[in-house]
Amino acid sequence: MVNAFAYVPAIVLLPFFSFLVALGAGRYLPKGGAFGGIAATAGSFLLSIWVAATVAGGRAYNETLYYWASEGGAGIGPTDIELSFGVLIDPLSALMLVIVTLVALLVHVFSLGYMNDEGETGLPRYYAGLGLFTASMLGFVVADNLLMAFMFFELVGLCSYLLIGFNFREPGPPSAAKKAFLVTRFGDYFFLVGVVAVFATFGTAQFAGPESFPALADAALNGSGSVAWTPGGVELGTWLTVVGLLVLGGVVGKSAQFPLHTWLPDAMEGPTPVSALIHAATMVAAGVYLVARMYGFYVLTPTTMAVIAFIGGFTALFAATMGLVKNELKQVLAYSTISQYGYMMLALGAGGYVAAVFHLTTHAFFKALLFLGAGSVIIAMHHNEDMWDMGGLKSKLPVTYYTFLAGSLALAGIFPFAGFWSKDEILYEALVHGLNDPLLLGGYLMGLLAVPVTAFYTFRMVFLTFHGEPRSDTARDPVPVRWNVKGPLTVLGSLAVVTGFINMVPVQKVLGIEGIDLLHLWLDNHWGGIEGLSSHHYADLGPYSSGYLVGGETGTVLVGAAVSLGLALLGLGLAWRLYNVPSPAEHTAKLGGIKDVLYNNYYLDELQVWLAYRTEDVAGGANVFDQGIIDGVVNGVSSVSLTGGGRIRQLQSGIVSQYAALLTFGLVALLLVLGATGGWFL
């Protein structure tokens, strides 16, 4: 039988080849190289399905493919450190591969409608960026060690920079791209320190296996093993917390969590399909995926878990409130993304590993759907994104409307759409674990408060865009969209409806039907996986115990689901009342001063700029040090050899007699020196 795992590198390399083709030959190909990208991502998608099927058949894969430094160890550092590229395929990465390749494929198809049909220029550059973006994310997903993950993490960041700044001739995109790059890089700086700390502490950065760093950390905390190094005098548990928080810095930057979320709304300057890719499958998902990937490490340190949960819950509420007052379609979606990733972080911090992966899955589909739907609206509206110029698009764009509605219902968490199941499970996990942990309960309450806010801004967006009377000429006569827009929307719309059914835990708990919590079984190595990477293993290691409200488990499930659904319906109802009228008015003025605060994103951008100016002197000092000392040494060495060479080359006069004289004097000098040392003259 042919081994599916042998083709895992091909999943990563196919989009990479499409990048090379689009870059090198894109301008000679029809559609600017789009078909290469579509073929490559389709191939990756099929291979991913095959790999996932193989994992379902009870097998997993954890291989180091290539040592790029010191195979067998070269004696650097406290232990022999091996730096390698490898592939780790377990249920989690197999699932993620399918999600990423599917979304990337649909985004490529959609781009035909959004970029090619709209007559954009620079298409080879666009498709090259998409290919590299997809390849980087896939490489990140299959990475078997933290350093490899970090490298692809950085590549993902680079590609987002290239794609957000795609329209570099306008003033906005380059600045947004720069901001995205710098803000995420600020987080990645901590991540890099964390990677080094992991290497120094454990001597390895492997994710899986008995010699992996989560396993070593577990053994060291149990007392049945020891780590290679901890900084002098620091207690092991404290140090592991510090390492966990350092790596978390990269996650907070990439997954746009408070306080490093500011880049994401600005990233809306990029083309809409790119936004879909960034928000659903690559880039932003990378942060949450990284925590899930090394979850065995995080569950060992309760403080880190609490921090993750609290950041997540806070971000969920915080971002949702900002989404309330935005006027641009994509801005609302941007804040909803930050908020939804906050939920995933809340789940991870609350010990809800499966819940987080579940929400990652459903969110990937419904958020890609919403962005592509928004892209379709933007095509129809001649690239006007202001929702106050829309209205009444429902009858003109039926396919977009119904799929967008499905995505919105999923985002708002309305039964039985995908988002309901995953969000409900997150809140349930946070609740049962939070009843014994006040900090977690705080995260839960913030997450719960974000539910009606989410439902409200989601449906404010839907009603303003699609319902009521058209409020501008373009909305009265929108541009029709073609199959290449409708196709991806239909696929994702169906997925947004049905994805929730892969994990009907509440139904199982209440009605007692076994075996319908497929994702739980999948991530628990029910069909196969790698030991030490199962959700059960994580739950055993985790710091939490469950508490229940009245009525035990069943009662808690029902109460939790009823409360969150009730709140979501409340938000939806309010939006309906305020905005589902023929000519809706802005109600934001009623918020008074809060409106300005919300509209200006709590002045966080200004705060960051202020901080940047306060730290200008430090940066200036570092610059002087870099330019003066570091560059000075390098430049000094080169200028010394340059001047020295300039002087010495004068010897080469070209006159033979002088060469002969030099030879003779050299010989004489040699004889004198040898004679003096040999003792001739004594």
Partner: protein, 106 residues
């Protein structure tokens, strides 16, 4: 003849060789005509030959004499090439003065 030659102490041969070598070296360092160069180099080689032969006589070993024969053959070859170079030199610059062609410099 052999008796006369071997009755002379080897230091005289060495002094003679050193003198001939210095004459050759002086020629190389002071002359500007390439032909003088060739002749001076020839003198320096023959100084070496004198040393070879003198030591061969002193140790009663023929190796030195064989070497001297080799050096004579080598000198012939060197002159053949040297003359060729000088011819080219003359054709290109119209002179055999070695200080004129100074293009091969920095």
């Amino acid at each position: 003849m052999t008796a006369v030659a071997s009755s002379i102490p080897p230091s005289w041969y060495l002094l003679l060789a050193a003198a001939v070598f210095c004459v050759g070296l002086f020629g190389v360092l002071t002359r500007r005509n390439a032909l003088y160069f060739l002749m001076s180099v020839e003198l320096m080689m023959n100084a070496a030959n004198i040393n070879f032969v003198a030591f061969a006589l002193y140790y009663g070993d023929l190796t030195g004499q064989v070497f001297a024969l080799f050096v004579i053959a080598l000198a012939a070859a060197e002159v053949a090439i040297g003359i060729g170079i000088i011819l080219v030199l003359y054709r290109n610059f119209g002179t055999t003065d070695v200080t004129v062609p100074a293009e091969m410099r920095w």
